[in-house]
């Protein structure tokens, strides 16, 4: 069977079509195949890089999520990304006349104060080189403490102070190109203070905002005119930085802050 099979198979191949340019077709196809493989490798590489970058981003944003550097455990806007919305004014409340028409700091503070059914006492604002201070009262005219805002020219290697340790530096939260630390002290009901210190990245100036409640009036009336988040909101508002001249520096008559800005 074996020898006849070979011969039989030869007969089967009668009618074989000519080879033609089949050799060239093989090489053309090989070139196409090589290009496809190269493109496949490149695409796979691109996908791999994209996956690695994506995973890296997810992991770093998850693992390195900044913890609030505030003295009190109140969550910050930078950490949560939330926007603090001031409650609307109570209907029927009498409009409060503006104390100053060209005070950039007041432009930021006043809407927040009014949103808390309080008002900036007209004519009671004080100001000096690098600082502003406003008296706050409720709608019945009772004093609710003060809000002080000051700008300090600090040295290049300045760091955020720690109230309990003069030599230490506090870890700051970030909000855009600003870094800030909150220093709230609500432990004494007769001297309640909410304070934030903020610094721009490319600026040697530091802004401190402090809302101090009326002293010795009890826990309820002694609450500061702004919440901790609102104080932080003011301190990290670029308009507040821009409201001070570049040459201003809180030296003379500077209000006393709960946590002083050491230079």
């Amino acid at each position: 069977m074996t020898a006849p099979l070979s011969r039989l198979l030869e007969h089967v191949l009668e009618g074989e079509p000519p080879i033609g340019d089949e050799v060239d077709a093989v090489f053309r196809r090989a070139d196409r195949l090589r290009r496809r493989r190269t493109q496949g490798v490149l695409a796979l590489g691109a996908v791999t890089v994209a996956v690695i970058v994506g995973l890296g981003f997810v992991l770093t944003s998850t693992l390195l999520k900044p913890r609030p550097a505030t003295v009190t455990p109140i969550p910050t806007t930078a950490a949560t990304g939330e926007v603090v919305a001031a409650p609307p004014p109570v209907a029927g409340a009498a409009p409060v006349p503006r104390v100053s028409g060209d005070d950039g700091v007041l432009d930021v503070i006043e809407p927040l104060v009014e949103g808390r059914q309080l008002r900036v006492v007209p004519g009671a604002a004080r100001r000096g080189d690098g600082w502003r201070q406003y008296a706050i009262a409720d709608l019945d005219g009772r004093s609710r403490g003060t809000i002080a805002v000051a700008v300090f020219d600090v040295r290049k290697k300045w760091c955020f102070p720690v109230a309990a340790d003069e030599g230490a530096c506090a870890r700051a939260d970030r909000a855009g190109d600003l870094e800030f630390v909150r220093y709230d002290n609500m432990s004494d009901p007769d001297q309640q203070i909410r304070q934030t210190i903020a610094r721009r990245e490319d600026d040697r100036r530091v802004v401190a905002v402090m809302a101090a409640g009326e002293r010795d009036t009890g826990a309820q009336r002694g609450k500061p005119g702004l919440t901790g988040m609102q104080v932080e909101q003011v301190a990290t508002d670029d308009r507040v930085f821009d409201a001070f001249n570049k040459s201003e520096d809180c030296v003379d008559g500077c209000p006393g802050f709960g946590t002083p800005v050491e230079r």
Binding site: M1, T2, L5, S6, L8, L9, H11, V12, L13, E14, G15, E16, P17, I19, E22, V23, A25, V26, F27, R29, A30, R32, L33, R34, R37
Partner: protein, 159 residues
């Protein structure tokens, strides 16, 4: 360097292409498909040889071709297809092709490699990834089945 490789590859392709295409035809029974499978196999050889990934070109092309025929036969029931413009094919040849394609793919591959391409048992085993005993067993079974099928066909034609 790459020019020398391309010249050697072109010589190899030119020398092997006709025989390889006939092998493919015996495996699939269709000249057009045989041409397509041969072209695909040789193009893969060219690409892989250029990056120095082929140890034995003959084993590479026959193994690749047999695997391609096996995959193609899974999807398509075999029908003998003559080439376009070809003269009439003898009835005996058609009977042999039909008998060949009634064998299992392994038996058919062993018989084609052994009796058409004249590979020895070792080479056939290397191409089909079988050991020598398996090659011999497929060969015996294939020959017996082919003999029986051809006998039946001849008897039917005589009757």
């Amino acid at each position: 360097m790459s020019g020398e490789i391309d010249t050697a590859l072109r010589e190899f392709v030119t020398s092997r292409l006709p025989q390889l295409r006939r092998t493919a035809f015996l495996m699939c029974g269709d000249w057009q498909m045989a041409t397509e499978l041969t072209r695909a196999t040789l193009s893969r050889l060219v690409v892989d040889s250029r990056r120095d990934a082929v140890a034995d070109p003959d084993v590479f092309v026959y193994a690749d071709l047999m695997e391609a025929c096996r995959r193609r036969n899974r999807r398509r029931e075999h029908v003998f297809v003559a080439s376009e413009g070809a003269a009439g094919v003898e009835a005996e040849s058609i009977l042999l092709l039909d008998a060949l394609h009634k064998l299992t793919p392994r038996c058919r591959a062993v018989l084609v490699l052994r009796y058409w391409d004249s590979f020895d048992v070792d080479a056939t085993g290397a191409i089909l990834d079988l050991d020598d005993e398996q090659v011999s067993a497929y060969e015996r079974a294939g020959l017996a089945a082919l003999e029986r099928l051809l006998g039946e066909s001849e008897a039917a034609m005589a009757g």
